[in-house]
Amino acid sequence: MATNRQAASSSSRWRAPVLFAVLAVLFVLEGTVRNSMFSGSWNTSLAILNMGLISAITALGVNMQWGYAGLFNVGVVGFLAMGALAPVLVSLPPVEGAWAAGGTRLMGALLVGLGTLAMAKLAWTRTRSGIATTAVLIAGFVAYRWLFDPAVVAIEANNPARHGNIGGLGLPVLLSWAVGGLFAAAAAWAIGKVALGLRSDYLAIATLGIGEIIVAVMKNENWLARGVMNITSIPRPVAQEVDLQNNPDFVEFASSWGFAAAEASGIWVKLSYMSLFLVVLLAIILLAELALKSPWGRMMRAIRDNETAAEAMGKDVTRRHLQVFILGSAVIGVAGAMMVTLDGLLAPTSYNPLRYTFLIWVMVIVGGSGNNWGAVLGAVTIWFLWIKAEVWGPALFALLTAPLPDSAFKSHLLDSAPHMRFIAMGLVLLLVLRFAPRGLLPEK
């Protein structure tokens, strides 16, 4: 018995390093080997890795909610979008004339909007009268629209070809990552307060809804972030490739390693991003692990494992759930801010729930529910597969259909091959659920 247990624990001690090493080998192959499966370009390899790291942070946020408290959040895309607004509102340079056009009025409108909700809540708790509450809501809504509509028209009329948005504060972009977390946390507080306070949770449907709404707001409120016209000039926390290429020292340094300046500058920039992301990722893991080992974390696990008993012992389950929901969402928000910083672009139409909510869920489940390192491993692995499946799918189809004569059917198959990655991801999730339901790195 004792030897058995030891064997099990030693195999699990090596499991994580081995799996991470395998993953690292994949990235090295991507960077060095050029064939039908790998690109042989360090730029591609690092680009995948950087987005994988951001996915890993997102997955960590989801894993806090799911792994620590068992909360099923299907509005990840919304919290990412919430965070994505931060770089736009914090670090973009101010837009000339925007604040003068309607900034104050807009702030007033938003305050009135929030005030109305607070008043309505107050009216309901004090009087329990539906009529009074409705009256407050209607009056507040009218006042809000009276303030809001002209302000928006004025702001959007301000240099619409280039701006038409409220603009940012011109603060450092790294600061906006933290603000992104705060934005997402605020949204999570509002939604969690409602959905977690009910007799049983309705969190899944509530988060699904809030996710759609946040993305809709981002698409349609042009004053906020230019809507579908996109924001393209988000400041970068790292050097520009062009500057590096023009720097003779750097060109010399690159050629000493045998790289052309253009390629080397791309690699340098991506490595800089990677270091920043790794710092954030490791800090979050450290904090998460410390929290989990603290009395607070022990209580969270106790609540998750036996809610009834925890409740009987006087633990406020709803409150704890709300806390962890807000914390997890804040982490997702940070990831959202990092993502637009990496892209240098905010394109609301790309916020698709399949990619930004459900793919993250595949990462968490594949990695191992409740295990932070598992979430990281799952996220980077799944992201790698997701990107490469788009290449491997057509390659595989080309191979399979090679003996077929040219026909409409064959070209249809070849055209649809990139969509195979959806099927592949679904199969990965189903296979993991079936054969290793606790994930690649199970919770201890």
Binding site: F72, S200, I205, D305, E307, P437
Partner: protein, 275 residues
């Protein structure tokens, strides 16, 4: 509702999971073949049963329960003695590692619960024994699900037996009182026209008056020719109506005899009947 995969995660969220009415019996299990019975068997016998739930430890140890045609057999014993487990074992709801169950001259050990119903066993579980959102009449119809013939006559008999529920036939069964629910539950089992009726603590949680009435009805059912096997918490009353009584202790037979014999047995009286 803990689970080895995700622990308790996610089961609180009513917008994605529905805990109401979940089952515990594996409905996908296929039946094995019927075997021959043994000469001189009682009508229903679970002989030398050893086993437990799933891959867990054994709860029953070489336990034998039988009921003869037209008789009432009761299983009594202290809490945790495996009374209900013995009943479930006879009904095929747990894995028997040893022993066999034989009904009416056939070995039914390999049958799944659904097919045991078809073979003529009627079972009334201790709890969750009605369809709460369906009307009383629909509950009885569901009892007769496996029958292809006209069920009106049986339904009339059930209503004769339980006039109180007859008056509420159009009402949702979940809205009835505890005693009436038990009557619906027994009525549902009778609708299959079973060859043997098995009741798991039919009087649990009902008032003494209702309990007496239920016992009367059960006696009436048995006198009508239907053998009854039941688990009972109220050992004294149960033994008084029993033709045969089994006292279980820790999953094994401790005492067996007619109700009268056991009532006279000093040890049984001292341990189970309170002197």
């Amino acid at each position: 509702m803990s689970d080895t995969t995700f622990g308790n995660r996610g089961n609180r969220d009513a917008s994605v999971v529905n805990p109401k009415g979940r089952g515990t019996i594996d409905g996908t299990r296929r039946s094995g073949p019927l075997g021959p019975g043994q000469a001189g068997d009682p009508f229903l016998i679970g002989e030398a049963m050893t086993g437990g739930y799933g891959k867990g430890a054994d709860i029953l140890h070489d336990c034998t329960i039988a009921v003869e045609q037209g008789q009432i057999a009761v299983i009594v014993g202290p809490n945790g003695a495996g009374k209900s487990t013995a009943m479930k074992a006879i009904f095929g709801m747990l894995n028997l590692r040893q022993g066999s169950v034989r009904l009416n001259g056939q070995d039914i050990t390999a049958l799944n619960p659904q097919d045991r119903v078809k073979a003529g066993m009627g079972f009334v579980p201790q709890v969750n024994n009605i369809f709460p959102s369906m009307t009383v009449e629909e509950n009885l119809e569901m009892g007769a699900y496996i029958r292809r013939d006209d069920i009106k006559a049986t339904m009339a008999q059930v209503y004769d037996l339980f006039p109180a529920v007859a008056a509420k036939r159009r009402q949702a069964a979940g809205e009835l009182s505890g005693g009436q629910r038990q009557q619906v539950a027994v009525g549902r089992a009778l609708m299959t026209q079973p060859k043997v009726l098995m009741l798991d603590e039919p009087t649990a949680g009902v008032s003494p008056i209702v309990m007496d009435e239920l016992f009367d009805r059960i006696i009436a059912i048995a006198r009508g020719g239907l053998p009854v096997l039941m688990v009972e918490q109220n050992a004294r009353q149960a033994m008084m109506i029993a033709d045969k009584a089994y006292v279980l202790v820790q999953g094994a037979n401790a005492h067996t005899g007619t109700g009268e014999e056991l009532m006279k047995n000093d040890e049984v009286r001292r341990t189970f009947l309170g002197g």
